[in-house]
């Protein structure tokens, strides 16, 4: 019975968070001021629109995307909002400190907040891989590390490898997915039987997850075009993402029916795979000139996303420990929603850039490919390395992690108004 009672985080969580918030006050007090240079009203409103679309994606879309588990809906939505609020404040400061022009005071404007929000999304994506197995204290700790790691990665990529703002931000999917998976790998696995019972998805939570999916689907073009400054590239990004999303939605539904023995559609596949096109389009969206290429990419993204889901599930069911990699328990399928399509996007980007180099300068191609591959692998390595570090630290007993029997259960973290027998 001992493990049934959850260890209290009361002495641990509030002091931690409040201290962190006070530190944030102090840093904001000493180092920030608002940007007072006035901009044209039209431009400002454009930025504000883009900013809001990104916040919708982060707060509403990603929050509800992860509600498909029967007993873990509250935590998914509410922790998501919390991590976003904390992550944005941290990222904003780190971005300011790491920028080359920083001196004494950083000025905050809507563009920098928007960038910070996109950057903080990395935490929300990674959290999808480990939600249900960690408590809020651990998530706060993960946020601090991941935000630092991702900001550093972006800074290094920008300064030393000459990657522009848009591209280095869009590596977010690959970075966050592999970070999350590595952390998840380090955490103890859920018990097979107990896990399965709570893990099972039910009808109405699936519907809630669909709400998140729809919001993500609608606003993804804004996410991909958020950081592009040149109007022409921006337009291309929006169109390409839109077509890729449409195609990947069609592909996902048809493939899901295809791989089921009775031709039924699996709701979990739909939640994740319809977004694959948008994720894959993240990096190369500004390079593609014609819609057909975007559509092909969306098609491939849908295929590998569904394929990834199926193969991963088979690995988990049939040969549990053949490779070490099968030990990973990925709660909300982050790997095939964000990881694999993100990789596809990265590779497409490399190919497209290589094709763009003039054929007369053949020697340049090799160099170009090498640098781009270097960036991609650098991002993955950073993700895995910091993931390992975080995972290792999160395993400490000091965080009072939930015991394995209490995984995927809201009752561990939430006060229930009455003894909710069947919720």
């Amino acid at each position: 019975m001992g493990s049934k009672y959850q260890r209290s985080v009361r002495g641990c969580l509030p002091p931690w968070i409040l201290t962190l918030e006070v530190i944030l006050f102090l840093v904001f007090f000493f180092f920030t001021s608002y940007d007072t240079s006035s901009k044209a009203q039209k431009e400002f409103l454009g930025t504000y629109q883009g900013f809001q679309d990104v916040v919708i994606i982060a707060a509403l879309g990603l929050g509800f995307l992860n509600t498909s588990l029967r007993r873990h809906c509250w935590s998914s939505v509410a922790f998501n909002l919390f991590l976003l609020a904390l992550g944005v404040q941290l990222t904003l400061l780190l971005d300011g400190f790491l920028s080359p022009t920083f001196s004494r005071k950083m000025s905050i404007n809507l563009t920098s907040i928007q960038r910070a929000t996109v950057s903080a999304t990395s935490v929300l994506i990674s959290a999808g891989a480990i939600l249900g197995k960690v408590n809020l204290v651990q998530l706060v700790f993960m946020t601090v590390i991941e935000v630092t790691a991702f900001s550093t990665t972006r800074m290094v990529a920008k300064r030393f490898l000459n990657v522009d703002n848009h591209v280095n931000m869009m590596y977010i999917h690959v970075f966050a997915a592999y970070f999350g998976l590595t952390v998840s790998c380090c955490l103890p696995r859920p018990l097979p039987t107990r896990g399965k019972e709570k893990d099972q998805t039910a009808t109405s939570p699936s519907l809630f997850a669909m709400l998140g999916t729809l919001f993500l689907w609608m606003f993804w073009p804004s996410f991909n075009s958020a950081l592009l400054d040149i109007p022409d590239e921006r337009k291309k990004a929006i169109f390409n993402t839109y077509y890729a999303l449409a195609v990947s939605a069609v592909t996902a539904i048809s493939m899901s029916a295809l791989i089921h023995p009775k031709g039924k559609i699996n709701m979990t596949h739909i939640h994740n795979a319809v977004l694959a096109g948008g994720v894959a389009m993240g990096i190369p969206c500004y390079l593609i000139h014609s819609p057909w290429l975007a559509m092909v990419l969306g098609f491939i993204a849908g295929l590998i996303s569904i394929g990834g889901a199926k193969i991963l599930l088979m690995c988990l069911q049939h040969k549990p420990d053949v490779f070490g990699i099968c030990n990973i328990y990925d709660t909300y399928g982050v790997h095939y929603t964000f990881g694999l399509p993100g990789l596809l996007g990265g590779i497409t980007d490399i190919v497209l850039k290589a094709l763009q180099v003039k054929w007369t300068e053949v020697s340049m191609i090799g160099y170009q490919i090498l640098t781009d591959l270097g960036v991609l692998s650098f991002v993955i390595v950073m993700g895995v390395a910091f993931g390992l570090l975080t995972g290792f630290l999160l395993n400490l007993n000091w965080w009072k992690p939930p015991s394995v029997t209490n995984y995927f259960n809201d009752q561990t973290f939430w006060k229930f108004p009455h003894l909710a027998a069947g919720y």
Binding site: Y48, V55, F82
Partner: protein
Amino acid sequence: MRFTFPLMATGLEVAMIVLFATFVQYETDQNLSQKPNSTSVDLDTSGDLYLFFRDVHIMVFAGFGFLMTFLRKYGFSSVGINFLIAALGLQWGTIVQGILHMHGKKFHIGIKNMINADFSTTTVLISFGAVLGKTSPSQMLIMTILEIAAFAGNEYLVGKIFLASDIGASMTIHAFGAYFGLAVAGVLYRSGLRRRHPKEESVYHSDLFAMIGTLFLWIFWPSFNSAIATPGDTQSRAIVNTYFSLAACVVTAYACSSLLEQNGKLNIVHIQNATLAGGVAMGTCADMKIPPYFSLILGSIAGIISVLGFKFLTPFFTTKLRIHDTCGVHNLHGLPGVIGGLASIVAIAMEIPTMSTAMQAAALGSSIGIAIVGGLITGLILKIPIWGQPSDENCYEDSVYWEVPKRIEHDSLFPEHRSHNQLEPEA
């Protein structure tokens, strides 16, 4: 119910049509140039304003509607009556505000009037939160009409006579709506429900629905506070300040909730409501020249106070003062609204010598005073037993006013059963 409500609703709508025919005209290029002081609206910017209008509209209809769906058997009414109130209120709000600010025989409406009309309905929706589950739709129609009239009067007083600054309307909307609602709830107190009503509780999924409302409100709050600000620097300052205030508020609300509940668990009611307190508190001074850390501190204080209010003040109100506040609007809108008013006094005293702190204080006082007096009068009118009030045991129950599918009742009693049944066929 069968005759009172349809007659009242139709009658009110006919009245609205007559009033619109008598007083309202559209804004056109021509009449804009004739208007004596048409500095504020210019047709070029009406397209830009439409973006803000859309955001406020989402907050009013989706945000406030879903925020109140937490009750187990009252989801239809929460969203549905919210919809009704907002739709009636925005017509009535247009008329009342237009008449108060009218110069000639008619007044002209544009996007800005639509935003202000949406604001005026917000007060009623807030007060609706306080009496949620204990009133009939007819009563809500009466309350909409009376409250918006009182609100428009107070807003005129604050804006035109005191010349106080209240850009995101912490005082005139949030504090006003909350105290109005509390006064009505106090008059309508049902001593039969002194002990907790068995249906006044939430289930797992109703709380999740409420989170949809929370998230919509959280996302669009910066637009709410900046919608009627002067375009340019002021507006962008209002947006950024509100955003930081909300972010800080989320963090402290979680910390405080975990601190106050047993075993450091979180309480979903706190998360649904207290995370928004930062936006409310930021309303009055959003557009002032305050440094970023000021908005962080203000948001944090609002988050903490709001959670403390839910934990200690709401039980005290219910048991000692005989005011039963269903949604806890006092903690989400009342207290943070007052904090917002006080913060504006502090900010003006510290940073802006051109404005008067006394007028700001007068604005706060008049908002609360008019709200309480108006609320008491409205409450007395609503107490007349001809509005089809639900009996004590029918409170918090959708089936009194709605056609409810039978299965729902079965589901909420045996949710475990249902999920088994529905999952079985696959195997």
